[in-house]
């Protein structure tokens, strides 16, 4: 026997369900431009039926039993994996672009140009070895060569400093993100006690994890807990950064590095786990890896060619060029008939630093008195240009450098070749990995993004369903009106 008012309940459940769905549609539309938002869907089902007497199982209407977010954790994991590679290469590319700016080739101000001018000045001197204008020109052009190398060296060191500063910043960013994620974990855990998902908080957490994956390689795990709610942990290189509501901190440890600190580059910050003695963080991706590679890469063996590689090359150039040039210069005699001294500065005391790209300079004695330039091979007249000719020949000397068999020009060229090849590789890697990240991001938005068309369709759908439920109630009302007020009035 059916109850009189049971039908109202069925219709009302339809009203509620439609209203709930409209709420969610509205929530989706409102958040259609929220970063990291995943569209939500209300799950409806027919509510538990009751057994009628002879008519079989009777439906009792509809119920909304869960609200889920459309999100694929597979795509998230994929995104984090690809994003770290993309960010790493984009940082490397930026750094190499900076270096290209430092060397500034092809141009009329690069090392190539000043070296051309220096040797041109020597050629002029070979024609008039006694002429003081030519002598001053040689000293002046040599000075231009050394200051160009000095400037390049200083800019490289500044680039290392900047990279180091960014490393420190990234480390504190990681700490701040870890703190936020841990606190979100706490909230999510609390909300999800009943087994339903804290959709919006999870979206927020995903955004933070996206940011973290830009900086460093992370692995994210969710471990099911006892009450349907999950524990989450985040690891960097196998070591726990976030363990549910707790997190470990990273810190930096300043160390002096030969070849950088002594050239005025300051201390170099190593990234270590806070509180664990000397436990280095295993960084395998992200902006942080790009920065560390650029800051520390010396190009030895399989090491990445970062800024120190170019710095070392410049040092080698300054040192070898100084030594070869001085060696030849000392074989000549100057205008006073004395044997040549150092043309470029060389350290005198055993404790002094070797010649490098920063202290590379023309010997002060030469600048003070250009008559000390040893142009002649013998003391037999001012126009003896024997030694200048040999100095000019150094330009075609291929045994000057230890790391490369080639002339000074070849050396500069190989330096720039390495830079340009690396830089164009970095460009290619950046755009390739960006394409992958974009594709994954597209798939993610495809899955999770809000489609306004869809939401509007849903809106119309739920509105109509709501209207229909209302109509149902009106109809029931009409039926009851008949039953209560009109029934049994015949013959009254």
């Amino acid at each position: 026997m059916r109850t009189t008012f049971g039908s109202f309940n069925i219709a009302t459940s339809g009203l509620f369900a439609s209203q709930r769905s409209l709420d969610i549609t509205s929530h989706n539309i409102s958040n259609s431009n929220t970063e990291g938002y995943s569209r939500q869907v209300a799950l409806q089902r027919a509510s538990t039926p009751i057994y009628g007497d002879t008519t079989g199982v009777v439906g009792t209407g509809v119920e909304t039993y869960d609200i889920i977010r459309m999100r694929s954790s597979y795509l998230d994991t994929k995104y984090w994996g690809q994003n770290k590679t993309y960010q790493e290469w984009s940082v490397k590319q930026e750094q190499l672009e900076t270096l290209e700016g430092v060397f500034n080739e092809p141009s009329d101000t690069g090392v190539r140009k000043v070296m051309d001018e220096f040797f041109t000045a020597l050629e002029e001197l070979s024609k008039q070895p006694g002429d003081s204008t030519c002598r001053v020109a040689v000293a002046e052009k040599a000075n231009m060569l050394t200051t160009t190398i000095n400037r390049n060296g200083r800019e490289l060191i500044n680039a290392i400093r900047d990279a180091n500063f960014s490393v420190k910043n990234k480390v504190s960013e990681i700490n701040s993100l870890a703190e936020q994620i841990a606190s979100l974990n706490k909230n999510i855990f609390g909300f999800e006690l009943g087994g339903s998902k804290a959709n919006d908080l999870r979206d927020q957490r995903s955004v933070l994890l996206d940011q973290l994956s830009s900086i460093v390689n992370i692995t994210v795990n969710e471990i099911p807990g006892p009450n349907g709610n999950n524990y989450m942990d985040v690891k960097i290189g196998g070591i726990t950064l976030i363990d549910h509501i707790n997190y470990n901190k990273l810190t930096t440890k300043d160390e002096d590095v030969t070849g950088i600190t002594d050239l005025g580059g300051g201390s170099i910050s190593k990234v270590v786990w806070d509180g664990v003695e000397n436990q280095e963080v295993k960084i395998e991706g992200g902006e942080l890896r790009g920065l560390l590679a650029a800051r520390d890469g010396d190009g030895e063996g399989y090491n990445y060619r970062g800024i120190p590689y170019y710095l070392n090359k410049l040092n080698e150039f300054a040192k070898c060029f100084t030594e070869s040039f001085n060696e030849q210069h000392k074989k000549g005699v100057d205008l006073q008939g004395d044997l040549g001294q150092n043309f470029f500065y060389e350290p005198v005391n055993p404790g002094d630093p070797e010649v490098n790209c920063i202290n590379f300079k023309v010997d002060p004695d030469i600048t003070a008195d250009t008559n000390t330039i040893a142009a002649a091979s013998l003391e037999n007249g001012e126009s003896n240009n024997g030694n200048v000719k040999l100095l000019i020949e150094l330009r075609n000397e291929t045994g000057m450098f230890s790391s490369l068999k080639g002339t000074p020009d070849d050396f500069v060229k190989s330096l720039l070749s390495a830079l340009s090849v690396d830089s164009s590789q970095a460009k290619r890697m950046t755009s390739n990995s960006q394409a992958l990240v974009d594709q994954t991001e597209n798939r993610r938005i495809s899955e999770s993004g809000v489609s306004l068309d869809e939401e509007m369709t849903n809106m119309v759908k739920y509105q109509q369903a709501y209207n229909a439920s209302v109509r149902m109630i009106t109809t029931l009302d009409g039926i009851l009106e008949t039953t209560v007020n009109r029934l049994g009035l015949v013959g009254r």
Partner: protein
Amino acid sequence: MRVTNGMMVNNLLRNLNRNLSKMEKTQQSLSTGKKFANPSDDPIGVSRSLRLNTEVSTMEQYKRNADDVNSWLTTTEMAISNITDILSRAKELTVQAVTETNSIDERNSIGEEIKELRNQLVQIGNTTYAGSYIFSGYKTDKPLLSQDGRYDVGGGTNEITLDEVIEVNIGVGDRIGENIVGQRIFGLYISGADLDKTAADSLKQQPEINSGDSSQLIAVFDKLISDLSSDDTNGISSALSRIEGHADNVNAIRAEIGVKTNRIELTTNRIQDDTLNLKDLLSKNEDADIAEVITNLKMEEYVYKASLSGGAKIIQPTLVDFLS
């Protein structure tokens, strides 16, 4: 695949950005006139460009060197041609003195002119080019001869050796000596030695010149002057062959300079050709083809505009616009 509005916006932005950055590259190429701005744009091109620029710069320097040597040689050539003139005039006068009967006055005036010619020789020995004494070997800051016809380039021994030739680079490993060492023209006269020797022969025993040494050529003239004043006919007639010998020597040196000048001209031409070729290569390597760049730019502009207007159409309408 489910398509959402966010996806379309992202795609559109990405594509717009890509088109714009392409356009930026092309525009940069148009404004600089170069194919590449950074080494990474074209690693090989940039490295080639560096090499070519250096080669152009060396070639230009070789060209300047060759021009300087050429001027130096021209000055030397002029000085030597003056010497030839002097010698032939001296010969004329000597012939006149030997063959004709001359009064004392006439002989004296011949003697005066020879004396004048001798002084001119000393002056030519001290010819300068751009402030440098061209016959003084490496001692270009010192005149070769003093007024009395002695070498005068400062104290010490071995003052000027025959190998004091100033060599200048006019190519890779290619050098040319620009100066003629003075004693090759003026010779060395050791008191009491044979005056019949030419300058070249006079250097056989002792090729280097010390300060205070006498010049063979000037000594011939001095002897002639004294013979003229003492009317020593034998002496005067033997001067004739001596002067001829010197004239031959000077002509040989002149021919040598001619050969050198010739070589310089050839080298200069070759350098100019090379420079032209190198500049051509350089231009092919790094200069942008403006027509191509502009065409590309136009095309990219169209693509960009198309993506913009397409974007405007795609982004706007959703169902929102059609529901009332």
